[in-house]
């Protein structure tokens, strides 16, 4: 299992479009991926779960990955978050 702390940097936080991108990124891996905020853990492949985290800019999230491709999955999700979900602002 790998754990990594991520901090949301994009202006709108984990809003609908960003959550959709995250789900698309996570869905490509067979590992189990979760995000935890203040003890609430959700499936990173569930857009509803991600939205229910109500994570705004500056929120710290714990990414957990467990499975055969866990390292690649963590890298992919982390890069997406660091690229601010490719948003223009």
């Amino acid at each position: 299992m790998i754990e990594e702390t991520l901090i949301l940097k994009n202006r709108l936080g984990l809003h609908a479009r960003a959550a959709a991108k995250l789900v698309h990124a996570a869905a490509g891996f067979s590992s189990r991926l979760t995000l935890t905020r203040d003890g609430d853990e959700v499936d990173a492949k569930s857009i509803l779960g991600l939205l229910l985290l109500a994570a705004s800019r500056g929120t710290s999230l714990l990414l957990r990955a467990e499975g055969p491709d866990e390292a690649a999955a963590v890298t992919a999700v982390k890069e997406l978050v660091e690229r601010r979900f490719d948003e223009s602002e």
Binding site: R11, L12, G13, H15, A16, R17, A20, V23, V42, D43, K45, S46, I47, L48, G49, L51, L52, A54, S56, E87, S88, E89
Partner: protein, 595 residues
């Protein structure tokens, strides 16, 4: 059968529509509950999964249709629906209920959705809490695919082949954008005023509409036969054959008249009988309306309300510079060489204020909206200006800034525009030396100081909807005071005169893009007050151009001079009514259909 009944309201978009009523309501969130025998549970699970699959296909097909009709940016919301539908956080609890409680799938879907919707509504972030509505929509689609007919809202898709009239309490701008225009031929609402956004959209879509109809929802039932008379402001429930016949005749007459007006409209700019050219441009909200601009013979676009790019996306997302530039460029190219005035986002106020401003405002209409919001959120504004400049070489672009209250705002915008231009040019993207920049005059302080603003801009555009609202302190969507909303009020007319004089002194063009210009009598008055450029919903352009060709500026000036000496809007209106009999024979209309 119910007896025939007529209800009066405010006519907001002309034409006659005859169809079946579909109630567009806040809907039931429960479904009938049935307990299953244990051996039926696996079959029920299978039935639920099939409904999810067919719902998925329906949503994807809606997304494809919307993308083709309005552009991919409008389809994003439906892709999000498709993801919600297949999400374990939704499907899991439904299946769990079917198995553990041995209940029917309809009930399990409604209960699981209700629980999730409640959790969304409680979220502190307004952007995300709004997604509750989408989740609700998705659950209803699944219930319909399960054969649950307790949902009125979705009957729109079910009434195969029947023309639909929407009956609603009120339609929000995003509701109006999402009306399935291939099926819905008109609407009536219990609330709303003549210049509410639903009304403006109805005119731009050419949908007959009546708003502010008291007792509408208690009088009209699902599937009732309904006539919406958008010219005289009447809604008929279950009209008899005789009344239907009268409407059929009128519709045929109107179609003939519209055709001949359109043929005259497309031949060029209208010139009055005494030789003065009057420009009549179109107001549009969606890039897909460019076809209408050409078809109805408008001399370009006088007001492109760009914020609808954002509102219609459904999830309050600002498209990036490249995709905005593609949309603006397409509009400019298709209308070239005609001018296209693109107004920068007029967000805030009633348009997505909480979502954009990020805070509750006690009086959003007096709050952070228009240029104030753009200056407070410079990244969003710079992205739009970048897109506009990238698109500029495609045609004749002019940029208009909304809600200006003083010249300092125009100066700040000009400075940002210059910076953005330098950045774009530095990236090697071709941009014109300068793009005309105009100020919308719709706040009384701007009208009063138009002489101070005019030297700093390239043009002025009077926005008489908001100017009237702010000058008279009347909320035009509030039906208890909407009769006080009078663009022919002496106060508004005096401000218009002031702005025309300021523009003339500074040798800057001034246009008028309120709905007021689409009223034949007020149009005559405005010509008399010195306005030469107008902008209105595309479908009213042919009538106004026909009137422009019939009148003389000297008659109009005489009428305006007399109007300015009057003391109340009622007196102005009475004068215009009298003058119209001689000066506007083209708009004399046949008697209304009545009981």
């Amino acid at each position: 059968m119910k007896r025939a009944l007529s209800l009066n309201g405010i006519p907001v978009s002309p034409g006659v529509a005859v169809g079946r009523a579909v109630l567009w309501l806040s809907r039931e969130d429960t479904a009938p509950r049935r307990t299953l025998e244990p051996e039926d549970v696996p079959g029920e699970l299978e039935r639920f999964r099939r409904a999810v699959e067919s719902s998925f296909e329906e949503i994807e097909s809606t997304a494809a249709q919307v993308a083709a009709r309005l552009g991919p940016e409008y389809a994003a919301i439906f892709h999000a629906h498709a993801m919600f539908l297949k999400d374990r956080a939704f499907v899991g609890p439904v299946e769990k209920r079917i198995v553990q409680e041995a209940v029917n799938a309809e009930w399990a879907v409604a209960a699981a959705a209700r629980e999730l919707v409640g959790r969304f509504r409680d979220l502190p972030d307004e952007n995300i809490a709004l997604r509750a509505t989408d989740l609700d929509d998705v659950a209803r689609i699944v219930r319909r695919h399960l054969g649950d007919e307790s949902d009125n809202h979705l009957r729109v898709e079910d009434l195969a082949g029947e023309a639909i009239i929407l009956i609603a309490d009120e339609l929000t701008p995003s509701d109006a954008v999402r009306i399935p225009r291939d099926r819905v031929i008109g609407f009536a609402t219990e609330r709303g005023g003549a210049t509410s956004h639903a009304a403006i959209l109805a005119r731009s879509f050419g949908l007959p509409a009546v708003v502010g109809v008291a007792k509408l929802l208690e009088s009209v039932g699902e599937n009732d036969r309904v006539v919406v008379d958008g010219r005289d402001g009447v809604v008929w429930r279950e009209p008899n054959e005789e009344i239907l016949g009268l409407f059929r005749d009128r519709r045929a007459d109107e179609a003939r008249r519209e055709k001949s007006l359109k043929e005259r409209s497309v031949v060029g700019v209208a010139v009055t009988a005494d030789g003065v050219a009057l420009t009549v441009r179109a107001n549009i909200e969606l890039a897909s309306e460019v076809g209408d601009v050409l078809e109805y013979g408008a001399d370009g676009v006088g007001l492109f309300r760009s914020e609808f790019l954002y509102l219609a996306s459904g999830d309050f997302h600002v498209p990036d510079a490249d995709s905005q530039a593609a949309i603006y460029g397409d509009v400019l190219r298709r209308l070239a060489p005609r001018p296209v005035v693109i107004r920068t986002y007029d967000l805030g106020g009633k348009k997505g204020s909480r979502q954009v401003v990020g805070a509750d405002e006690l009086s959003p209409v007096l709050g952070l909206r228009g240029v104030r919001l753009s200056l407070a959120r410079p990244e969003m504004f710079r992205t739009q200006l970048t897109a506009l400049l990238m698109a500029a070489p495609a045609g004749d672009l002019r940029i208009l800034v909304p809600m200006v209250s003083g010249v300092e705002e125009v100066r700040r915008v000009r400075a940002i525009l210059n910076e953005v231009r330098a950045e774009v040019a530095e990236r090697g993207i071709p941009v014109p030396e300068s793009v005309p920049l105009g100020a919308m005059i719709e706040v009384p302080s701007a009208a009063i100081t138009a002489d101070l603003i005019a030297p700093d801009v390239d043009f002025l555009a009077l926005g008489t909807n908001d100017l009237t609202q702010y000058t008279l302190a009347v909320d035009r969507a509030n039906e208890t005071v909407s009769d006080l909303f009078r663009p022919d009020h002496p106060a508004v007319l005096r401000l218009i005169v002031r702005v025309v004089e300021a523009a003339r002194a500074a040798r800057k063009p001034v246009s008028l893009c309120g709905e007021m210009a689409a009223d034949p009598q007020l149009f005559l008055l405005l010509v008399g007050l010195g306005i030469r450029e107008f902008s209105m919903g595309p479908r009213t352009v042919p009538l106004i151009k026909a009137i422009a060709r019939d009148i003389t500026v000297s008659d109009a000036a005489r009428v305006a001079k007399a109007a300015l000496s009057l003391t109340t809007p009622e007196e102005v209106s009475a004068l215009l009514g009298l003058e119209a009999r001689d000066l506007l024979p083209a708009v004399r209309r046949p008697k209304a259909v009545s009981a």
